[in-house]
Symmetry: C2
Subunit: 439 residues, 2 copies
Amino acid sequence: MPLVDLDRFDFLYATRVKGMKSAVTRDLMATLSRPGIISLAGGFPDTKAFGEEAFREISQAIAPDAAQALQYGPTAGLESIKDVIVEVMAAEGTPARQEDVFVTTGAQQGLDLIAKVFLDEGDAVLCEGPTYAGALNAFAAYRPKIAHAPMDRAGIIPVAARETLMRARKQGIHVKFIYTVPNFQNPTGVTMVAERRKELLGLAREFDLIIVEDNPYGMLRFEGEPLPSLAALEQEEGDVDRVVYLGTFSKIFAPGVRLGWVHAQPGILHKINVGKQGADLCSSNLSQMMISSYFRNADWKSYVKRLNGMYRERRDAMLDALAEFMPKEVHWTHPEGGLFVWATLPSYLDATAMLPRAVAKNVAYVPGEGFYAGGAGKNHMRLNFSFVEPDKIRRGVEILAETIRERMELRSDMERGSRQGRSQKGAARSGSRASGAGR
Amino acid sequence: MPLVDLDRFDFLYATRVKGMKSAVTRDLMATLSRPGIISLAGGFPDTKAFGEEAFREISQAIAPDAAQALQYGPTAGLESIKDVIVEVMAAEGTPARQEDVFVTTGAQQGLDLIAKVFLDEGDAVLCEGPTYAGALNAFAAYRPKIAHAPMDRAGIIPVAARETLMRARKQGIHVKFIYTVPNFQNPTGVTMVAERRKELLGLAREFDLIIVEDNPYGMLRFEGEPLPSLAALEQEEGDVDRVVYLGTFSKIFAPGVRLGWVHAQPGILHKINVGKQGADLCSSNLSQMMISSYFRNADWKSYVKRLNGMYRERRDAMLDALAEFMPKEVHWTHPEGGLFVWATLPSYLDATAMLPRAVAKNVAYVPGEGFYAGGAGKNHMRLNFSFVEPDKIRRGVEILAETIRERMELRSDMERGSRQGRSQKGAARSGSRASGAGR
Ligand SMILES: Cc1ncc(COP(=O)(O)O)c(C=O)c1O
Ligand SMILES: Cc1ncc(COP(=O)(O)O)c(C=O)c1O
C-alpha cells in the first residue's frame, strides 16, 4: 500500500482527533528498551523487586477460583477488591466507604471517565502548571480548554488558581473541575502543603466545582510526615462531596495489572459506571483477584517500605549527581518521595530539541513541553529515578549535564559570534559610515 | 448524606451523559448471581470449562517473566501476543500482518476507540437492527445518530442498508461507518450470508466509508461451513483498507483477562493508538503474557472445540425446549453457533415490562429494547445458552413460556373484557338510542 494512502480517511476522522497527541514517553517506548540506553524517561516502578516467587504464590492462591478470575465481573468491581481499596485508603489516612469505591482499568481510565462525564467541548479544566501529561491526553478527547495555574515548591499557588477561575467566570467559560496531583507530583515531584490543600477546597466551594485528586504516589514517601489528602480534609469538614479521588495499584503493587479506582459520592459514581460500560464493560477479574489475594495474605506494607528504601537511594543518587555534574544555571526539585525530579534549564534551551542528541548518547528523559497544554515548558526535563540503578542514574545525569553544557557553549559561541558579527558589522557600518563621511 | 444531594452536580455533567444509558444486563448483574436464578440473560461463556489445572500451568509458565508481566507495556501491545493474534486470525481464515494488529482492553474498548476516532456529534453509524447493545453504549458517548437497517435470517438486508445510506446523504448526514457482527450476531444469533458480505463491502466503497466488523463469535461454530470475514473478502479483492476488524479472546479463551484487538490499516491504527493512550495507557501485560503463553504452549483449538461441543448441546436444549413449551405465536432464530437465540413475541407483548415477573419466577433474559437505539424491539428477548446447563435451560424456557402465556391470557381476558365492555356499551348505547328513539 503506497504511503500516500495512509491518510486517505482524513475526511472521516472526528474533529477531536486533531487535538489528541501522542505522549513522548509512549512514542519513545521502543527506543527506551534498546539495550544500553539509560532511561530516565519512563514513569516505571521497579517491578523486578516483586519477585518470581511472590508472583507464583499469588497466582496459585487464586487458581481454585479460576472460573471466576476468567469471567466477566461487575462494572464497579468485585467486592473483595473494594475491601482492599478501603484498607489502602485508610492506610493513606483517608477514611473510605466500600460503596463509594469504583474500580477502574488504571487511574488513567479514571481520568478518561471523569472527563467523559464532566466535559463538554469548550468547558475548562484548571490544572497545575506543569501537570501529568496523561491527564492532558485523556481530557483532550473531550476538547476542553486547559488553564494552568503556576506551582512553586509548595504546590499549586491558590491565589493564581483563584485569579484564573475569576477570569474564566468573567469570560463565561465553565470550569468543571480542578485537577491536582498533590503528592510527589508527576512531573515535578512537588508536594502541596497542607494549608494550600484547604485553600483549594475553599476555592472548589466558592466556585461550586469538583476537585479531581489524583494520588498514585502518596504512599511512596521516603521522608517527612504524610499530609492529609483533600478527600480526607473534606470529610473532616463534614462532607463527602466534591472531591473525586483517584487511586491506583500501579505504584504500590504493579502497573501490569492495570488496576486503579475512583472514590466519589454515589451520584458521580453512577455516571462513571455508565461511562465505563461503554469503555470496557468491566476491569479484569484476574487482576482484581490477584491483587486482593496478595493484599489480604501478604505483608503489602513491607513491600511498599522496601520499594521506598530502594527509590530513596535512587533519588539520592540522582540529587547527588545533579549537584555534582550540572552547570550552575540548571535547577531542580528535591522531592520527598515519588518517582520524579523536575529540572529547569536556562530559558533559552529547548529540551525537546536536545532529546535526540541525548538519546544518541544513550540517555533519555522527558522534555517539559508535554506537561503543558499550550507549548510552554520547553526548558524543563522530567527525570525518573525509580527504574534505573544508582550507578546508571549517576552516569545518565553526567551525560545529560554534558549534553546541556554543549548546548550552552554552542549558544555562547553563537552569542559571541553574533556579538562579534554585530561589532564587525558595527565596525563595517561605522567603517562605511566613516568612508561615507570621507566621500 | 440526604438522597436529594445525589444529583446536586447535575449542572456540572457533560451533555453526553444524558444519552448514555446503563445496560440491562449490567444492572441485573447482582440479581443474576442470586442463588437459584436461571440466567439466560448474560453473554457469559462457561469459564468453568477451562479448569484450575490449566490456569495453574499458564500462570506458572509466565512466573519467570513476572517483572515484565507486572510492568507497563507498549500502547499497541506486546509483540508476542500480536503473533498469537495473527495465528488466531489465520485460523479464522483472515490473513493478517503483525503490524496491522493493535491490542485493546477487550473488543469493547475497540468499539469505544473507533467511535472516539471517527464520530463527531451528529455523525451517523449504520447498524444492524437489532445490534449489540454494548456498541450502542460505546457510540452514545460521542453522540452520533444511529440508523438501523433491518435484518432477516441471512443478516442485514443490503437493499435496506443502501436506502438508509441514500437517505442520510440526501439529508446531509455523514455516515462514518457501518457496524456489523457478521457471525452468530449478538443478539440474534444470525449469520450474514457470503453474498451479502460482498454487497456490504460494495456499499462501503460506493459511499466511501468504513466497515467495523466485530467478530467475537466466528470460531464458535457448531455446524455448517465457516464464511469468509469481510476483512478477508476485502483482501481477496486486493485491499486492506476500509474494514476495521475487531477480535477478542473473551469467547475463545476468557473474558476475565479483558483482551481483544483491532486489525486495520496503519493510518487508522495510529489514531486509535493516540486514543488508547488517553483511555488506559496500555492493556495488561499480565493478561497478554498469560494468553500468549497459553496459545503458544497449549492446544487452544481443542479447547475451542470442547467449548463448541458444550455450547451446541446447550443450544439444542434451548431449541428443543422452545419448540416444546412456547406458544405457537412465539418465534425464534436457529443459530449455527455463538451464544444467543433471539425470540420474537406477539407484537402486543412487552418483554421489558415482563422481566420483573420472570425474575420473580427465577428466570432472567434480556429484553429486546436495549438492542435498538430508538426504543423498538420491545416484543423480543435475547436468550443466552452458553452459561447454564441443559436441564436448567429447559426449565428456564419452560418458566418463560409460562410467563409469556400468562401475559397472552391476560391480554385476551382484557380483550374479551373490552369486547364485552364494548358490546355492553354498545348495548347500552343502542338501548339508550332505542330508549331515545322511544322518547
Ligand atoms: C499522576 C498520574 N496519574 C495517573 C497515572 C496513571 O496510572 P495508572 O493508569 O497506571 O494507574 C499516572 C501514571 O504514571 C500518573 O503519574
Ligand atoms: C458483538 C460483541 N462485541 C463486543 C463484545 C465485547 O467483548 P469483550 O470486550 O469482552 O472483548 C461483545 C461481548 O459480549 C459482543 O457480543
